[in-house]
Amino acid sequence: MNITRLDKARDLNFKRQVEEESGQNLSACYQCGKCTAGCPSAGVYDRQVSQIMRAVQMGLKEEALKNRSLWLCLSCSTCSARCPNNIDVAAVMETLRMMARREGWVQDRPMETFWKAFLDTVKYTGRSYEMGVMAGFMARTLRGWGNVEIAPTALLKNKLPFIPSVIEGREEVARIFQRYAEKQKRS
């Protein structure tokens, strides 16, 4: 059994910070569990969304931030739609993911790599490029072989073009990414 000494572990600043960044009132959560009941990823989560909400309320920063669930969230917003107290739970999950990243606590590398591979195609061409995302992800992680199963149909139906669509303003888009990266370095 895990015993947590609240007088030692509690960080109420953390709760306030989550509330500020997500714009949500965490005190409104009365732990009914509807978010967890409706969550399509509940089966693969290592910590359920209602447990994460409780951890934030209690100011338990590590409990709230060090879990794979934040990366396995599908951003479907079912939790937000079902919350009887109108908390945008999905927005809280997204805020926590960003805070965890800032702490260097990314708990699911493949998902993070997929997102970066996707954004890389946008950075270089101005648009996302399905084939490039898949190739980039597989090259970096040596994972994603499950996708090979759909390749014959996708190729037969010519659903995944080999040539990316490149926009004229790609340098303008690249500058957005560049300024973002510089800003990240400064903070």
């Binding site: 399509p40 739609a81 998902m111 084939m131 996708a154 926009i167 303003g169 990414f177 800003k183």
Partner: protein
């Protein structure tokens, strides 16, 4: 009405049939689409998962390009694109957030009286069709009704969620697609998983997640007696159609053989538009048996009406 049109990246790749049928249907409904010049990717889920400011800046460039079209609003067929563009504008009503986004752009976005960004609003093409054209107008345009084929409508996550930003239809039990399909002459079956997530782009790192979730959606649709699934999202479509065999394998089912259409393809069919405006050849699960069924029922109905008319004429003479 004039619309600034944002096709979205998948329209050039995995969902060319959605793109073709959307344009054809909008044209048939006298919606004037002007494609946003040199639009860029909205950043999709990876964008907002990494940073709201980055996602906002990618959206803002598009919305600034859109203002050059002279249209009243932006529309996009893709729920993820329309949701991203909409949320970016909504967040940028906050002057602090606007300033963060502006610092990533070549030039700042124009401000409104409250200090928020003065940008165009975005809607899904579905919302524009339902609210600006109307289901009655669709019904009047039907020349080739769908003859009561049984369908379930599948909305996915983002068309009406998050509700406080989307402000469209019901976040738990949407009905806009149902109403359209009924107007086309299909029988719409009650379906509990209308807005249950298909697994989204999780298939790239792990095929088992969309496999399980989409498998359950297809399994339930089949058990309800559906002959087809109708959707409005390119990513949902990929998981339900292109990955359908994979979903059946992962959920230990026999192949579902359940055709999955974009709602615009079925509008085009019912409007009697030419094949190149539907691109049914792009679907992974063969829709031909169902199309034949519609044709057979139509022929039988026309024949029955003809016989009835002759009988009536015979009695009269």
């Amino acid at each position: 009405m004039k619309y600034a049109y944002y096709p979205g990246c998948s329209g050039h790749g995995s969902s060319v049939e959605y793109e073709a049928s959307t344009r054809a249907v909008c044209n048939a409904l006298d919606m004037d689409l002007v494609e946003i010049a040199d639009w860029n990717c909205c950043g999709s889920t990876p964008g907002h998962s990494i940073s709201h400011e980055l996602s906002g800046a990618l959206a803002a460039r598009n919305l600034l390009q859109a203002s050059k079209t002279g249209a009243d609003c932006v529309i996009s067929p893709c729920p993820s694109c329309s949701s991203n563009l909409k949320i970016a504008r909504w967040r940028m009503q906050n002057p602090e957030f606007k300033a963060e986004v502006d610092s990533l752009l070549d030039a700042p976005t124009p401000a409104n009286a409250e200090g928020g960004a003065d940008l165009m609003e975005t809607y899904s093409v579905l919302q524009a069709i339902v609210e600006n054209v109307g289901v009655d107008a669709i019904n009047r345009r039907v020349t080739y009704p769908l003859e009561g084929i049984k369908v379930v409508t599948y909305y996915g996550c983002l068309l009406s969620r998050p509700a406080h930003v989307a402000k469209f239809d019901d976040p738990n039990n949407p009905v806009s697609l149902d109403n359209i399909l009924k107007a086309l002459g299909a029988e719409v079956l009650p379906f509990a998983l209308k807005t249950e997530c298909c697994g989204a782009a999780m298939g790239i790192p792990d095929v088992n997640i969309p496999g399980q979730l989409s498998g359950r959606i297809l399994e339930t649709a089949k058990a309800a007696g559906a002959e087809a699934v109708v959707t409005a999202c390119p990513l949902c479509h990929m998981n339900l159609d292109l990955r359908q065999r994979q979903a059946a394998r992962i959920t230990k089912n026999k192949p579902f053989e359940l055709p999955v259409f974009y709602y615009t393809q079925l509008i085009a069919l019912a409007f009697g538009l030419p094949e190149e405006s539907m691109r049914l050849d792009k679907l992974a699960v063969n829709p031909q048996p169902l199309l034949d069924k519609i044709a057979e029922r139509r022929a039988a109905r026309v024949q029955a009406a003809h016989d009835e008319a002759r009988k009536a004429a015979g009695v009269a003479s």
